[in-house]
């Protein structure tokens, strides 16, 4: 579900803005580190979960407004270089501010320990993350499908010229989409922190996964992102049980296999 969330955010940014966002993983990592810092200052996990992703969204807002906005006319190569440069900067800033060593972070007291489901014993926090991620995916879906601005955003993915001809401020749309995508990445990072702990490399690892989700699910395709996220999440869990070392490589192997059979991705748009 977390993978779906990451893929969804990236899918929005890539689909609406038509840029390759190599900083998406860094935004994810920043979300996790923001959470740790906010919890450290305020001492409350829930406040942290609320504030940290908003912080990432604001960061996304600034990035779009100050940098990416100037690059829509430039080719993908320069957009890539820009977001790649940003990823390097954010990644190194994490090391400078929070240190190169991994940090572990405990879930809030309420969600510690496990829950007996009858057939198996499952950590409470993981259940919470699944519910949270599911809720966010549904909320994003409702926003995109049922609200006016969501409809505009979907239209922006389909045909940008037409949308701006209809008198809609396309630049504001881009900014909102980027901030929303950054928010989703940030909250995915914040939710991950108590499960896997934090390390400066977490962003890059997640970036690759997010790209796989988008490549399989299709740009701006919500259902595709969820299906692809679940597929690789399950594949990874299954392989991890038997052969731990291969659990990351398998994500990309699954992608390669799917693309061999269906080069156009799981749902075959564009």
């Amino acid at each position: 579900m977390l993978y779906a969330l990451m893929g969804l955010g990236l899918s929005l940014i890539t689909g609406v803005l038509n840029i390759p966002n190599f900083a998406h993983g860094a935004l994810f990592a920043i979300g996790a580190y923001f959470l740790v810092s906010v919890v450290g200052v305020l001492g409350n996990f829930w406040l942290g979960l609320l504030v940290a992703p908003i912080g990432v969204a604001v960061l996304g807002l600034v990035i779009e407004y100050a940098g990416i906005r100037r690059l829509y006319a430039a080719g993908h190569d320069y957009q890539l270089l820009f977001t790649f440069g940003l990823a390097l900067i954010l990644n190194e800033l994490i090391i400078v501010i929070w240190g190169p060593v991994g940090i572990s972070h405990l879930p809030p007291a309420l969600l510690r320990g496990g829950l007996d489901l009858g057939f198996t014993f499952y950590p409470k926090y993981r259940l919470f993350v699944m519910a949270m991620a599911g809720l966010l995916v549904v909320a994003t879906w409702l926003f995109l499908e049922k609200t006016r601005y969501g409809a505009i955003m979907r239209a922006g993915i389909e045909n940008k010229e037409m949308v701006s001809l209809l008198g809609i401020d396309i630049h504001r749309l881009f900014t909102v989409a980027f901030a929303l995508g950054a928010y989703l990445a940030g909250i995915a990072g914040a939710l991950t922190a108590p499960i896997r702990g934090l390390s400066p490399g977490m962003g890059v690892d997640m970036l690759g996964i997010a790209f796989v989700v988008v490549a399989l699910g299709g740009l701006g395709n919500l259902l595709g992102a969820i299906a692809a996220g679940l597929l690789i999440g399950i594949a990874q869990a299954v392989v991890a049980a038997y052969w731990t070392e291969a659990s990351t490589a398998v994500i990309f192997a699954v992608m390669a296999l799917v693309l061999l059979v269906r080069p156009q991705g799981m749902f075959g748009i564009r």
């Binding site: 890539t14 038509n18 840029i19 390759p20 190599f22 940098g67 100037r70 690059l71 430039a74 993908h76 190569d77 320069y78 890539l80 270089l81 820009f82 790649f84 440069g85 940003l86 990823a87 390097l88 900067i89 990644n91 190194e92 800033l93 090391i95 400078v96 890059v204 690759g208 790209f211 796989v212 988008v214 490549a215 740009l219 070392e245 291969a246 990351t248 490589a249 990309f252 192997a253 992608m255 390669a256 693309l259 061999l260 080069p263 156009q264 991705g265 564009r270």
Partner: protein, 305 residues
């Protein structure tokens, strides 16, 4: 002709200015850039996974050099082969998609190879890299002397440049450029675009492979970073800053990039941060590459004078 003289002159002068190791690194990186430029500049394919081929070749050839004691030319041959084969595998999946999907696929497959190298510690050494790559003697010449090795690297660079010039000026090169300019039209006159893109991938991969082997022998180690995505990004940066689409662009870019990273890495341990800032500044203000930046500075100095 002028370009040839200039390159020969810089090959001769360079080791007098900087350490031979850095001079070698510049030409190796230039070979790497030449390979990418065939894709990026001539075919219009933005590959963000070139280190896949560079690193795979470096690991395989490094392994054979270390444990089986093969010669320099055999190692280079293996590297070129591995570079081409890995590019064939990756390219086959990637050329079926275009635009943003293509970029993301090259990156994702790069990550696949990275994680294999990262986890397969018994062979690759994982995070520590694969140390102890020897530099065998060639025709009785001891290549362990940095200057001797520099001569070999320069010779292979010149060979690569000559080959690349032949490739881009051949009918094949023209077809690739036609695909870059207008893929639909190239298809319409009868060229199956994916097949030519794949061919460009394989050729580019072969150049990357040669560069990877030279790199491994230069430093005596195959670091894990050599197959990582930052390496892929660096070569894209070098090619763009030198000016893609021109044969000599990657060479200029390699000079600028190695100079930048060498001078930054002595300044601060967190130098990738500075590198990132350099990327952002270049993209925002000097999008035309070095050539345009130079003419802008020149115009500015004329105005103020």
């Amino acid at each position: 002709m002028r370009a040839a003289v200039l390159i020969l002159a810089s090959i001769c002068v360079l080791p007098l200015i900087v350490r031979p190791a850095i001079a070698s690194e510049i030409w190796i990186f230039a070979i790497f850039g030449l390979g990418l430029n065939l894709l990026l500049g001539y075919t219009g394919l933005l590959s963000f996974g070139q280190s896949t081929f560079f690193g795979s070749a470096a690991y395989v050839a490094g392994y054979l050099l270390k444990y089986y004691g093969i010669g320099v030319f055999a190692a280079l041959g293996v590297g070129v082969g591995i570079g081409a084969v890995s590019a064939l595998l990756v390219g086959y999946l990637c050329v079926q998609r275009s635009g943003l999907y293509f970029i993301m696929l090259t990156f994702a497959l790069n990550q696949l190879f990275y994680f294999i190298a990262y986890q397969w510690t018994s062979v690759t050494g994982g995070e520590d890299g694969m140390p102890g790559i020897p530099r065998p003697a060639l025709f009785g010449v001891d290549l362990r002397d940095p200057l001797h090795y520099y001569v070999l690297v320069s010779a292979i660079f010149l060979l690569s440049l000559w080959l690349m010039k032949r490739i881009v000026e051949s009918p094949l090169g023209r077809i690739l450029q036609a695909i870059r300019e207008n893929e639909v039209r190239a298809e319409a006159v009868g060229y199956h675009a994916p097949r030519f893109k794949l061919l460009a991938f394989v050729l580019g991969g072969a150049f990357s492979g040669a560069a990877g082997v030279l790199y491994a022998m230069l430093f005596g180690i195959v670091p894990l970073e050599s197959i990582g995505f930052v390496f892929s990004g660096n070569v894209v940066f070098a090619t763009l800053i030198g000016g893609s689409g021109s044969l000599y662009g990657p060479i200029i870019g390699s000079f600028v990039f190695i100079w930048l990273s060498e001078s930054m890495s002595v300044m601060w341990a967190r130098w990738p941060l500075l590198l990132g800032v350099a990327f952002v500044i270049v993209v925002l203000f000097f999008r035309g590459g070095v050539v345009e930046a130079w003419s802008r500075v020149w115009r500015y100095s004329k105005r103020t004078a």
